[in-house]
C-alpha cells in the first residue's frame, strides 16, 4: 500500500499540483522498476547503489517526456501520455534487453550489511520512503515552486504574463513527479521480486490516476487515502470477486457524478465534515489561549520598500515603447494593420475604437501573448517582439485581461505573491525557498495596501466581486514593478463609485513612475483620465492626439456612428 501511495504522490505532483494531465505514470514507475531490476540482477549492483541510479534514470525520463508535453494542448496532453505508456509497454515487451513479456525475475531482497531485510524491515523502509516523499511534497508546496505550479494550474496564460516561465516549472513537475514514481517502482521491484511489462502499462497508470482523483486531486491526504483504499478494496470485496471490474467502473462513474473532488477533496462532503469538526475544536481551544498577533508591517520596512521603487520623475518626452508597422494576421483576417505608435514615459494613453477594432489583439502583441506577423515592438529601444510573454513581463510590462483571469482557488495574498515570485525564482534553488517568510510578505502587503485590497488578503479570489477582481489583477501585475501597465477594459462593469476609486488608483500608479495604456469603451473615464488617445478601427490607427481633438475628430465619429457610446 505504501508503494502505491508513493506512486500516487508522484502523479499528484504532476497532475494535482501543476495541473498537467498525465495518464501514463506507469512509464516512470516502470523505468524505476526496470532500472533497478536490470542493475541488481544483471549487473550485480547492490540495492543501495542501484536505488539512486534508478531514481536518476526516472528523473531523466520525466524530463524527456515532459519536453514534448510542453508543446501540446491540454486535451492532447492526456492522449499523448496515453500514447507514451502504450509505446513504453510495447518496448518493454519486444526489446530483448528487457526480458520480453515474461519480464525480469529473481530480483534480490534488500539487505543491509549483508543480512537480508525482513518483511517488517522492508515495511519500515517503505514507510521511510513514504515519509520522505510526503515531506518533500509539503516542502515543495510551500515553496515558490508550489505557488508557480498552482498558478499554472489555475491559469497558464496569466502565469506567463507575470513573468513565470510556465514551461520551466512544468518540466520541474514532470521530473520530480517521475522521480517519486520511479522510487515507487524500485520499491515495487524489490517487494514482488519480479517485474513484467504489464505491471506498468496503461491500466496500472489509470489505477493510480483513479487513486488520486478518488481521494482528492491535488491533496496529499487524498493521494494516500486513495491509494490505500483502492489497494485494500479487492481484499475487502473478495466475495464479489467476479464482478470486481464492473463495480470498479460503476464506482468511478458514480464518484464523478456525485463527488468529483474526491472523497477527501477540498469541497467534498467528508472533508467538510472533518473541517467543521476541526473548527469547533479550534474555537474551544482558542477560548482558553491567547488570540494570535495580527499581521502588521513595520514603518521601517515600508520605507525601505518605498526607496526601492523606481524614481518618479523622468523627462516627459522619453519614449518608453514604440511599435513600427506592427501587423498581425489570422489567416485572411488582418487584425492589426501596420500600426505605428509611440508611448511616452509616465503618460496615460488610451486606446479606443469600435468593437473588433483589434485593441485587445494589439495588447496581446505587446505582452507577447501572441506573436506578430510582421513589424517590430521596441521597449526602451530594445526589440521585444520575438520574446516569450514571461520574458517581456520580466522586462517591465504588466497587464490585465478583458475577462478577468485571477488564480481563482488561491487567496488574494497568494495571487499577489505569485505576481512577485518571478523576481525570486531565478533558478532552481531559489524556487525551493519557502515563500511565506517575512520580507516577501512585506512587499506583497505593500502592494495590497496600495491597491486597497489589504482587508481581503485571505479571501479566496473566486469569491470576490468584479470590481475587486480587477484591482486584484492590477495588484498581481504590479509584482514585477512594471514600467508599463496595460489595462484591458478594467472599467467595464463597474459602478460609478468603483470607477472613481479605480481612476484614483491609476493616477497613483502614474505618480509612482509607471506608464499606463488602457483600452476602454467607457468614454467618460477615458476622457477624464487619459493624457493622449489613439483610435483603432479595423486594425488601423485612424487618429491620435489629445482627448478634445479626438472627441471632435470626424473620422473617429464616423467610425463610432451607431455605437451606444458617443464621445
Amino acid at each position: 500500500m505504501g508503494i502505491w501511495s508513493v506512486a500516487a504522490l508522484g502523479l499528484n505532483v504532476i497532475t494535482g499540483y501543476a495541473g498537467q494531465f498525465n495518464l501514463g505514470i506507469g512509464v516512470y514507475m516502470g523505468t524505476g522498476a526496470y532500472a533497478t531490476a536490470i542493475l541488481t540482477t544483471q549487473a550485480g549492483v547492490n540495492f543501495w547503489l542501484a536505488l539512486p541510479c534508478a531514481l536518476l534514470i526516472s528523473a531523466a525520463m520525466g524530463f524527456l517526456t515532459g519536453l514534448p508535453a510542453l508543446r501540446v494542448r491540454e486535451d492532447a496532453l492526456a492522449v499523448f501520455t496515453i500514447g507514451l505508456v502504450f509505446v513504453f509497454e510495447s518496448l518493454l515487451i519486444y526489446l530483448p534487453y528487457f526480458g520480453g513479456p515474461v519480464g525480469i525475475g529473481r530480483i534480490p531482497y534488500v539487505g543491509i550489511n549483508g543480512s537480508q531485510l525482513s518483511k517488517e524491515g522492508y515495511l519500515a523502509l517503505v514507510l521511510v520512503a513514504l515519509g520522505a516523499v510526503v515531506a518533500a511534497t509539503i516542502y515543495l508546496r510551500r515553496a515558490w515552486m508550489g505557488l508557480a505550479w498552482a498558478s499554472i494550474r489555475e491559469n497558464e496564460l496569466a502565469t506567463n504574463t507575470i513573468g513565470i516561465h510556465s514551461a520551466r516549472f512544468k518540466l520541474y513537475a514532470f521530473t520530480i513527479g517521475a522521480t517519486f514514481a520511479g522510487l515507487a517502482g524500485v520499491l515495487y521491484a524489490h517487494f514482488i521480486h519480479y517485474v513484467t511489462p504489464y505491471d506498468f502499462g496503461f491500466l496500472p497508470s489509470i489505477y493510480i490516476l483513479v487513486m488520486i482523483v478518488f481521494g482528492g486531486l491535488g491533496t496529499i491526504r487524498g493521494a494516500i487515502f486513495g491509494a490505500c483504499f483502492l489497494t485494500l478494496m479487492p481484499e475487502l470485496f473478495r466475495f464479489i470477486q467476479d464482478y470486481r471490474n464492473l463495480i470498479y467502473g460503476a464506482m468511478l462513474v458514480g464518484l464523478m457524478l456525485f463527488e468529483p473532488n474526491g472523497v477527501l477533496g477540498d469541497e467534498s462532503y467528508v472533508w467538510r465534515l472533518i473541517l467543521s469538526a476541526q473548527q469547533r475544536l479550534n474555537e474551544w481551544l482558542n477560548r482558553v489561549s491567547k488570540s494570535r498577533r495580527a499581521y502588521s508591517i513595520s514603518a521601517a520596512a515600508t520605507n525601505e520598500i518605498r526607496h526601492k521603487t523606481p524614481n518618479s520623475i523622468k523627462p516627459a518626452s522619453r519614449k518608453i515603447l514604440e511599435t513600427r508597422n506592427l501587423t498581425r494576421r489570422f489567416g485572411g483576417l488582418v487584425a492589426v494593420n501596420d500600426v505605428n505608435l509611440e508611448v511616452f514615459s509616465q503618460e496615460i494613453l488610451g486606446i479606443i475604437g469600435p468593437n473588433g477594432a483589434g485593441k485587445t489583439t494589439f495588447f496581446n502583441l505587446l505582452s507577447g501573448t501572441i506573436p506578430c506577423t510582421s513589424g517590430e515592438i521596441r521597449l526602451n529601444s530594445e526589440p521585444i517582439h520575438r520574446l516569450s510573454p514571461h520574458l517581456i513581463a520580466q522586462r517591465g510590462i504588466g497587464r490585465t485581461f478583458q475577462i478577468v483571469r485571477p488564480f481563482s482557488q488561491l487567496s488574494v495574498l497568494d495571487n499577489v505573491l505569485a505576481g512577485i515570485s518571478a523576481r525570486y525564482c531565478k533558478g532552481f534553488a531559489d524556487s525551493l525557498r519557502q515563500y511565506r517568510n517575512s520580507s516577501d510578505q512585506d512587499e506583497a502587503h505593500l502592494i495590497l495596501e496600495q491597491t486597497g485590497l489589504l482587508a481581503h488578503k485571505n479571501e479566496v479570489s473566486r469569491n470576490l466581486p468584479l470590481g475587486l477582481l480587477r484591482r486584484l489583477e492590477i495588484a498581481r501585475a504590479l509584482g514585477l514593478r512594471p514600467n508599463l501597465i496595460l489595462l484591458d477594459e478594467s472599467f467595464s462593469g463597474l459602478s460609478h463609485r468603483e470607477s472613481q476609486s479605480l481612476i484614483d488608483l491609476v493616477r497613483m500608479l502614474r505618480e509612482n513612475g509607471a506608464t499606463i495604456m488602457l483600452i476602454e469603451h467607457n468614454m467618460q473615464v477615458t476622457m477624464k483620465i487619459c493624457d493622449r488617445i489613439a483610435v483603432l478601427n479595423y486594425g488601423n490607427k485612424i487618429a491620435e492626439g489629445m482627448p478634445e481633438d479626438i472627441r471632435n475628430h470626424p473620422t473617429v465619429i464616423a467610425a463610432y456612428l451607431g455605437s451606444a457610446h458617443h464621445a
Binding site: F21, P68, R71, V72, R73, E74, D75, A76, A78, V79, F80, I82, G83, L84, F86, V87, E89, S90, L91, I93, Y94, F202, I206, L209, V210, V213, L217, D242, Y243, R244, N245, L246, Y248, G249, A250, M251, L252, V253, M256, L257, P260
Partner: protein, 287 residues
C-alpha cells in the same frame, strides 16, 4: 498483385472502422469537449447486440438495424444522464467517468456473454464473388458496401440536413449556436445517437469480418480512437478520417511486409507520439 489488392481492401475496411469510431469521438469532442472513451463500449455493444439479434431473428439486416438503433439510444442515455451533469466540471471528471463506463461495459459483456470469443458467422456471406480475375469474398464486399452507405448517410446528414448543420455549428461555437435559437441539447442528443449508431455499425462489421466478438474488443480501439482524433487535429473531421485511413494503411503494411515487433496498438501510439513531436496541432488542426 492479388495480395496487394487484398491488402488494399483490408486497409479500406480497417480504415473505415477506425473512421467510424474516430468520427464519433471527434464530433463528441467538438461539441462537448469530452473525450468519450466509452464510445468503444458502445462499439462492442453493437457487436454483441448484432450477434444476439442475428441469432434470434436469423436476419442480418434486422440485426444490423436493430443493433444500430439500440446502441444509438444507449448513447443518448449516456449523454443525458452521465455527461450532461458533468459539463460544468473540469474535463478530467468526464474522462474518468468515461473510462469507468468503458470498464463497466467490458465487464458487463463478459458477464452476460461469457469471457470467450463468440463467433459471428453469417451463412449467406460465405463464398466470394468473381469480378474479372479478382476474387472478393462476399463478406468483404458486404462490408465495403456497408461502409459506403454509412459514410454517405453520415455526410448527407451532416452537410445537408438542418440537424447536421446544428451539430456542426455547435461543434464550432456552442454558446453562439444557443443564442441563435437552436436547441442545442436536442442537437447534442441526436449527435450522440448518430455517433453511437455509427460505432455500433462498426462493431457489427468488425464482428462479421473477423468472425469474433469478445468482451475486450472495445479496449484496443478506444485508445486508438483517441490517438486518431489527436493525430487528425482536434476539431477537424476530415483530418480524423484521413488519419484513420493512414493508420490502417500503416498497420496493414507494417504487419504484412515488415517484421517490426510492435503490437498494432503500439504502432498507432508510436504514430501519435512521433506526430505530436513534429506537429503538435495534428494533421489538419489549427495551431
Amino acid at each position: 498483385m492479388m495480395l496487394l489488392i487484398q491488402q488494399l481492401i483490408n486497409v479500406v475496411e480497417l480504415g473505415s472502422i477506425y473512421a467510424m469510431i474516430a468520427v464519433g469521438l471527434a464530433l463528441t469532442y467538438g461539441v462537448l469537449r469530452i473525450l468519450h472513451v466509452a464510445q468503444a463500449g458502445i462499439y462492442a455493444g453493437g457487436g454483441y447486440a448484432g450477434l444476439f439479434l442475428y441469432e434470434t431473428t436469423g436476419s442480418f439486416a434486422l440485426a444490423l438495424i436493430g443493433s444500430v438503433i439500440i446502441c444509438g439510444m444507449c448513447g443518448m442515455l449516456i449523454e443525458r444522464f452521465i455527461y450532461r451533469p458533468m459539463l460544468p466540471r473540469p474535463r478530467i471528471v468526464a474522462l474518468i467517468a468515461s473510462i469507468g463506463l468503458l470498464i463497466c461495459f467490458s465487464d458487463l459483456f463478459r458477464i452476460i456473454g461469457g469471457p470467450n470469443q463468440l463467433s459471428f458467422d453469417i451463412k449467406s456471406l460465405n463464398g466470394s464473388y468473381e469480378i474479372g480475375k479478382l476474387l472478393i469474398s462476399k463478406t468483404d464486399a458486404a462490408i465495403l458496401a456497408g461502409t459506403v452507405v454509412i459514410f454517405a448517410a453520415l455526410w448527407f446528414v451532416l452537410q445537408k440536413t438542418k440537424l447536421g448543420f446544428a451539430v456542426r455549428a455547435a461543434a464550432q461555437d456552442l454558446e453562439t449556436t444557443q443564442l441563435m435559437g437552436i436547441d442545442v441539447s436536442r442537437s447534442v442528443s441526436w449527435m450522440f445517437f448518430i455517433s453511437s449508431a455509427v460505432a455500433a455499425f462498426g462493431g457489427v462489421m468488425v464482428g462479421v469480418l473477423y468472425n469474433a466478438i469478445y468482451p475486450d474488443m472495445g479496449d484496443a480501439i478506444a485508445y486508438k480512437g483517441l490517438a486518431l482524433i489527436v493525430i487528425g487535429g482536434f476539431g477537424s473531421l476530415t483530418g480524423t478520417v484521413i488519419a484513420s485511413f493512414l493508420l490502417a494503411a500503416a498497420e496493414v503494411f507494417m504487419t504484412t511486409y515488415t517484421s517490426v515487433p510492435l503490437s498494432r496498438e503500439a504502432i498507432a501510439m508510436l504514430f501519435l507520439v512521433l506526430l505530436i513531436l513534429v506537429r503538435p496541432q495534428g494533421l489538419l488542426g489549427k495551431a
